[in-house]
Symmetry: C2
Subunit: 428 residues, 2 copies
């Protein structure tokens, strides 16, 4: 392709990401032309407020997102509005009008991905979303294309920069959760309402997208077991460190032996020698295990206007090239995944509990573990006046059995409190 070809871009939304996208399109114009032969022209920008300052000519602005999505003067639609409605409906109208759509909207894809993928295939156009998971890391295209012939067994990711920043601060500065959160908010790494991040919902959306792509079966956000980080204490983190581990909020997807899929987000103890353990601050990383490739890790910025916009620009160029060649990358038909219930998880567990410090207590507690078939790998006792804090690490056990163990332990008079229960990963 030596002649220059113009691809007209309609942009929905012009906030941090949309604005960064406009800046990158302008700054990279000549590089994009010389590398790909494409000239990208932003021809319409849908915004909610015409008067705010934007890095794009005033006359391109419109309040009518629906019109941009279906405009005959737009070849590729780039969606940065966010939210589920009316975005879903507008994206569907763009696809139905034969326009490829580039988006980073993880909630939309996690909850309505199957509908959107099918709509793109029906229309014969691309739906590209490289920035939806681990924003600035090229991950979706490697999964969809480079690893198309790979039997992926497990993906474990640090998929949320806010919680990784908080956990890094708690680990490196022995900070409390609340202090680390406040600092993250001050620095702009956490929002005023941090719920979606700290309770794991943001990571769960990304897990649903990864599971669907890795295994070619539809997994939605509500299929993902989700547990956040708010209950973790700095003592849990120092206990983990003493045992050679760090605590990370991981999103995990696994293909089980019985062809069911397991998808979950929870704090996990990771050995310090594992590649994920050294991912600090607000960085994201995704660790992939597969039959052929053995181990892979992708590391980079999980958020931010420019990293997100850079990946959306790559998608836009790809969609533009495909428009000019009248082709697209199909998804194929996805079956709905069979999900393994969390109670069937097999994992090692860290269990911290407080008990009266008197003869026979340990025997009583240990026998409860034993009754449920949960075998103890190590135990540590820390004195606390007339109480003792007991830290157990179990051998691999079934989650449901561990939950019954905990329920029965609560019934014991000598058990005063049960603290964190943290799954241990990365050893097998």
């Amino acid at each position: 392709m030596t002649e220059r070809s113009v691809v007209r871009v309609g942009l929905l939304g012009c906030g941090t990401v949309g604005g960064s996208f406009c800046e990158l399109v302008a700054a990279q114009r000549s590089d994009i032309e010389s590398h790909s032969g494409l000239t990208l022209e932003i021809t319409a920008v849908a915004v909610r407020n015409l008067d705010a300052d934007r890095p794009v000519a005033r006359e391109l602005l419109t309040l009518d997102a629906r019109a941009v999505a279906t405009s005959p003067d737009v070849d590729v639609v780039v969606e940065t509005m966010g939210g589920i409605e009316p975005t879903r409906e507008i994206v569907l109208s763009a696809l139905a009008a034969g326009k490829p759509v580039v988006t980073a909207n993880k909630e939309l894809l996690a909850h309505h991905g199957a509908e959107l993928y099918a709509a793109a295939d029906t229309a014969g156009v691309d739906l590209l979303f490289e920035a939806s998971v681990a924003a600035g890391i090229p991950l979706i295209r490697p999964l969809r294309e480079s690893l198309a012939g790979e039997r992926i067994s497990r993906i474990m990711g640090i998929l949320n920069g806010t919680t990784n920043y908080i956990l890094s601060q708690m680990t490196e500065h022995v900070a409390d959760y609340s202090d680390a959160l406040a600092e993250a908010q001050e620095l702009g790494f956490a929002e005023a309402d941090p719920t979606a991040d700290v309770e794991g919902h943001d990571a769960a959306s990304k897990v649903a997208i990864l599971a669907t792509l890795a295994f070619g079966q539809t997994v939605t956000g509500s299929d993902v077991f989700t547990e956040g980080i708010a209950a973790l204490t700095s003592e849990d983190i120092s206990n983990a460190a003493r045992l050679g581990h760090v605590i990370k909020l991981l999103g995990i997807v696994e293909m089980c032996d019985d062809d069911r899929i397991a998808a979950r987000v929870h704090p996990a103890m990771v050995p310090t020698t594992h590649p994920l353990a050294s991912v600090r601050d607000s960085f994201n990383a995704v660790y992939v295990e597969g039959a052929g490739v053995d181990q892979l890790m992708f590391y980079g910025r999980g958020a931010g206007g420019y990293p997100t916009a850079a990946m959306m620009l790559g998608d836009t160029i790809d969609a533009g090239l495909n428009v000019l060649r009248s082709t697209h990358r199909p998804f194929g038909v996805h079956a709905t995944a069979a999900i393994r219930p969390m109670n069937e998880l097999r994992s090692a567990f860290y269990v911290s509990l407080d008990a009266r410090d008197e003869p026979g207590v340990l025997a009583a507690i240990a026998s409860v573990f034993g009754e449920h078939g949960v075998s103890i790998q190590s135990m540590e006792q820390l004195g606390l006046g007339d109480q003792a804090r007991l830290i157990f690490i179990t051998h691999e056990a079934v989650e449901g059995n561990v939950r019954f163990t905990l329920a029965d332990l609560y019934e014991l008079d000598v058990v005063k409190n049960i603290g964190q229960v943290i799954r241990v990963v990365g050893t097998t």
Copy 2:
């Protein structure tokens, strides 16, 4: 694409990689069909010896690689023969016959890439080579596609597993170079003749491919400055550790301010806090810096039959889908890169030298550095009887000036020996 479509694969060579490829095609058949709609059929396999045991039906074997490359019964050619000739000529004949080619042949691409890319574009077919750099890591497709809109400033990679294994052993077990090499040979990580690995030539081929893709300008293997690891001592490595660094053999490509490209392979001191520092054993990793994405790292297996074959299988599926859609991913026209000579590199340097331990010696040495405009950041003196070993770390300096400094230092009577000169990276 819901109907199944058969893509016929002609395989050139059936050694470790080719054999693993055949096994993966068989093992992944149903997954590939359900994810991509493609059925891959290996219809011909060119080998040098018809009698060896192969994981493929005997009647598919032939001695005639040229015939496979241009056979009307082949849709995609997968090249695992290696070497430059006759492979180059056979690949060109496949492309000319309108067949996409999948290869992992780094020497071929490093020395004849421009010719091959142009031939693929002329024929309107794909030439895909995901496994040519950091074999099992999806890297080429992210660079070509996801990062198509990114202004990449620098790529630094651990691109050779053999040397990374040797350096890891020297670092973690204070082993000598020759002992670590012997162990690597025993374990099969290093070949009987380790020259291509330890002298950096293997990494240099990969650097040429990365530079060409990252910057869209032709860089060949002979444009890459190359320095190996054989002269490194365990003392250099422990000195580096004391200074908070590890020594890695890095392949580095940079876009300079004047639009020239710098491409080099050499041992480098990397701060222990840098993501590349924790890449151990025979793993590979590629660290990318760019205006939009900030920092990225790709980590995984850099060699091995299955990791290499897994990436070639992804390429084969991609090429197959494009054949069915009668499309391909063009390279565009590449200009020949202007290469910055190594003498113009700006870097900090580690310099180790032995000198007589007497008054005035340090002043004499320091003044030689000063005369060439090389400013010293830190100096450490270790006693060695009547001699002293001096370890200098310079501020950022121009490589040519450091070389003149060393030449003048040799002239000084008081200087008895000049040891390693190691570039320090990753601090800026």
